[in-house]
Assembly symmetry: C2
Homo-oligomer: 216 residues x 2
């Protein structure tokens, strides 16, 4: 079997697992949000605020957080009061559906309405792996520049929502939001872009409202 054939088989198996996981979680009333970005885009800081808001609003939420190494992110996120579990991939550059399924088994609290899955910080490989999510969100920090959508097209093409983070640094970085939005639209016409700052809290409540599933 060639590498291409092997990769195709792995992706097909992952897709099947992800579809089954999505069906199981939907049946349990759990809506899954997959958060994707490069390293240092502010996924964890934003997720900590989102979990805090869920606790405050009485929305049963939980998070799985993936990293190559360390349990640091799980410790940070647990400060929110929401249930959090770390997935240490031990070098694997992305999460896969079986890792998500195995870490949920026997852990996910019954009645969880919103489950966040924070992927490994990598704007390339995670884009190919369905994790059973209902919504895929790509984060871009203003500190990364305006051109990332066209340079990492797969991540943006398959995103249901784009979140621009660290907008408190727009002036310091001389970031041009219109250029960024044009780059997003060039890769994925029509996709919504939401702006946030974990430092000031700007946009976080609106984002959570956008992420919440419709009430059953």
């Amino acid at each position: 079997m060639s590498l291409v054939e092997l990769r195709t088989a792995i992706l097909a198996k992952n897709d099947d697992l992800a579809a089954a996981l999505r069906a199981d979680l939907a049946a349990a009333g759990t809506y899954v949000v997959n958060l994707l970005s490069g390293p240092g885009s502010g996924k964890t800081a934003l997720l900590e605020l989102l979990l805090q808001r869920c606790v405050e609003r009485g929305v049963p939420a939980a998070a799985l957080t993936g990293d190559l190494a360390t349990e640091n992110d799980a410790r940070r996120l647990a400060r929110s009061g929401a249930p959090v579990r770390q997935i240490v991939t031990d070098g694997l550059c992305h999460l896969e559906a079986d890792l998500v399924r195995d870490h949920l088994a026997g852990w996910l609290p019954e009645g969880t309405r919103l489950l966040f899955v924070e992927n490994v910080g990598n704007l390339v490989c995670p884009a190919s792996y369905d994790l059973g999510e209902s919504l895929r969100v790509v984060l871009a920090a203003v500190t990364e520049g305006e051109d990332k959508p066209e340079k990492y097209p797969t991540a943006y093409r398959w995103a249901d929502l784009v979140v621009l983070t660290k907008v408190d640094l727009v002036a310091a970085c001389a970031f041009d939001e219109e250029t960024f939005r044009a780059s997003v639209q060039g890769v994925h016409p029509g996709v919504e872009v939401v702006t946030t700052s974990a430092r000031t809290g700007e946009g976080v409540d609106g984002l959570l409202t956008r992420l919440l599933p419709p009430l059953p």
Copy 2:
């Protein structure tokens, strides 16, 4: 053949190719610097300045720049006046030695003393692939936070030099350099850290001096 066996075979083949390429380039008097970082860490901006300085100082330098998509970076870098060639990986998440070798063949100007290879923006996968470089440099932007070395240990463990970029934004990001340096030392004790800003030019001349090979 299992995925692990296949991956081991691919890496072993790449290592052999890289060793041969390093020997060929050394024989031709060309010293190769492999630049690694996540997306938006400022690799291209810093490289543009380094190439400009090489042109000004009369150092024969050239660059290969890798991206999933677009020739944008080659266009930016060519403004320096140095020879630049784009490698479009078409989805591949890292460069490999054969891609570098094939793009150098018939293109690399004779007498090139310093060849920069700008890897795909990804702090995970490129760390496993030797490209025939003499020096491997990992870039971290202050905008990414202090904790990336321990969270992406492979990239830092195999780096010969760490370059901290965008230091003009230290105050805006409330970045703590000592915490970052401690994180670096925890993963790779003794490795040197150089601070730079492509916006102000701080540290760029010193970095180039550090990167230049000893005169034959």
